[in-house]
């Protein structure tokens, strides 16, 4: 089959070498730090067309295009590329793997240069703000003073908001999708169940499993739970209904229903590509996230950045009211913002799937910012 997907490569940038380690929100320090990142399109002469895409919990730097030899493109390929929502004919798109991650950036599975062993739980606790502070070094390294836009869904949306909170002068526009100003007790609760599943697995070994193999059972259960929260009642009915794997019930504790098979399959492929300790660290970072009250914009201050806030009707993990809270906060500070609640049945997954609607909104929003 002929494919026109352009081949992209992941690049790496290392910084914060001791003794100039990155100070973290916890009070600890981290360094050296490597960030895995990819870029698409060309940076223009006055460096005004750069867009930073931020990934969600299980994402990585590979947002679009194909890696040599891969069968599947990046995780948001339908949105990033020539002529797409984030049009790489016009814009220079950057995406980096977060710190704490396991897809090329420094995280608990990375080798600690002081001990020559994986950090495991000696890796410091990180926050969304720490992730963004690390990305700032990459943006400096690329020579970009002001980003045209920061955009992302779910945890990517949290990072986009955090960029505005940490570096308001360096962001012209922000597109937070399927996200909120803070993690709610329900979101924290789901994360905690996932973490408990991992830590209850005997293979976890207090995080020291890098020589013996990771706690696959626990991580897989965490992922299965995650997938339930990413769908909706309606989307599960549409996708699986009560369809059986075989013709009859097994009358055993086996996989009878397609929905069971799907979740197990999702868990199985996830443990092959994702580190259990990263899952613990990143979900904790999400739970600590809170930009409510005056933390997004300091009291009596306003912002020049423009916002496009997008939510999906059937998203019960990050319900639209949480996006509306962002918009109300922005309105109360006289910040230019638009909000659209897309009518979708896909639940939280919608931000990866409702491409036509998102493209229409983002395309026009960006070109108006770029022009103005």
């Amino acid at each position: 089959m002929v494919t026109d997907k352009s081949i992209v490569q992941t690049k790496y940038f290392t910084f914060s070498q001791p003794p100039n380690e990155l100070p973290l929100e916890s009070g600890l320090k981290l360094g050296p730090i490597t960030l895995a990142f990819e870029t698409y399109g060309e940076l223009n002469a006055n460096k005004s067309n750069a867009i930073l895409i931020l990934h969600a919990l299980s994402g990585d730097a590979h947002v679009a295009g194909m890696h040599q030899g891969d069968e599947k493109p990046g995780w948001w390929d339908s949105m990033v590329g020539p002529g797409k929502a984030f049009d790489t004919n016009k814009y220079f798109v950057i995406c980096s793997n977060v710190i704490g991650g396991c897809r090329g950036s420094t995280g608990p599975s990375s080798i600690n240069p002081k001990t020559n062993k994986p950090y495991a739980l000696s890796f410091p606790m990180i926050t969304i703000s720490d992730m963004v502070n690390a990305q700032r070094f990459l943006i400096d390294h690329l020579g970009i003073d002001k980003l045209l836009c920061v955009a992302g869904g779910s945890m990517g949306g949290m990072q986009a908001l955090q960029w505005v909170a940490n570096f308001p002068q360096r962001v012209r526009s922000c597109i937070p999708i399927s996200t909120g100003l803070k993690h709610s007790p329900q979101q924290i609760a789901f994360d905690e169940v996932g973490r408990q599943a991992i830590m209850a697995d005997p293979d976890w070994k207090e995080g020291n499993y890098y020589e013996t193999g990771q706690p696959e059972k626990g991580l897989s259960v965490a992922r299965m739970l995650g997938h339930i929260t990413y769908m909706s009642d309606q989307s599960m009915e549409d996708k699986f209904s009560r369809k059986l794997k075989d013709k009859n019930y097994s009358f055993k504790f086996e996989t009878d229903f397609e929905v069971e098979g799907y979740l197990i399959y999702r868990g199985d492929i996830f443990v092959k590509r994702f580190d259990a300790n990263s899952y613990l660290y990143i979900t904790k970072a999400m739970d600590y996230f809170d930009l409510s009250a005056d933390k997004l914009i300091p009291e009596n201050k306003t912002l020049d950045s423009r916002f496009l806030v997008i939510a999906f009707k059937s998203d019960w993990l990050y319900p639209p009211y949480q996006s509306q809270e962002i918009v109300r906060l922005l309105k109360s500070r006289h910040v230019h913002s638009s909000y659209c609640e897309i009518n979708s049945t896909y639940g939280h997954d919608a931000f990866l799937l409702e491409i036509k609607e998102e493209t229409r909104l983002i395309n026009h929003f960006l070109s108006n910012i770029f022009k103005g």
Partner: protein, 201 residues
């Protein structure tokens, strides 16, 4: 700088003329943003909209407008007092659940409110009700009883009485006929009305 607003809608023309250049304007039920867009471009107004229809939101974003996708009843929460010079409630007030609350909210977040609504006491409406015994269907009330979005039916006199009761000052009033404004017997002859109101201090 302001130019002629080329539109088929007489109510838009009237509202466009009311608003001074450079004003801060919020349109409640802004539709596809035609009026706001023209106010922004030709009168340099700082405009925002609230709209409940998803397709209309896409059209507003295409025009580069700031719009909030929500219903009018809950949309004004969060806006600080006197954020706008004008809050427009044109052909949308009668569709809100709590019209009184929405008007009071409009006068909280705006110095002035522009309220446009169909006149239920129009001659043709009276004729249909009185002689034919039917719920009125007119140019400004073009719906059957079973598909109308209107939740409140009011006349020009009703609105004036409301303003008097609620300590609201009427700054200006425009009465719309088929193609132009009218002056005489508005409660009988006008299809629509546009009021400019403010709070009495």
């Amino acid at each position: 700088m302001s130019e002629e607003f080329q539109t088929k809608r007489l109510d838009y023309k009237i509202i466009y003329q009311i608003i001074e250049p450079g004003s801060r304007v919020l349109d409640l039920g802004c539709g596809d943003g035609e009026l706001l867009n023209f106010l922004a471009k030709s009168k340099n107004a700082h405009v925002q909209g609230i709209e409940v229809d998803e397709q209309a939101i896409y059209k507003c974003v295409e025009k580069g407008l700031s719009v909030f996708h929500t219903d009018i009843d809950s949309g004004l929460r969060g806006y600080p007092d006197k954020s706008f010079d004008y809050v427009i409630l044109n052909q949308s007030m009668q569709e809100t659940k709590k019209a009184d609350f929405v008007i009071q909210e409009a006068l909280r977040v705006g110095n002035k409110a522009i309220i446009g609504f169909p006149n239920f006491a129009n001659l043709r409406a009276r004729f249909m009700l009185f002689f034919q015994g039917k719920a009125p269907i007119t140019k400004s009330l073009p719906f059957y009883w079973y598909n109308t979005p209107n939740l409140h039916f009011l006349s020009i006199t009703d609105f004036k009485n409301y303003c008097a009761d609620k300590n609201i000052k009427i700054l200006d009033a425009f009465y719309l006929g088929k193609t132009s404004t009218i002056r005489i017997w508005p409660n009988l002859l006008a299809l629509d009305a546009v009021f400019v109101i403010t709070r009495r201090h």
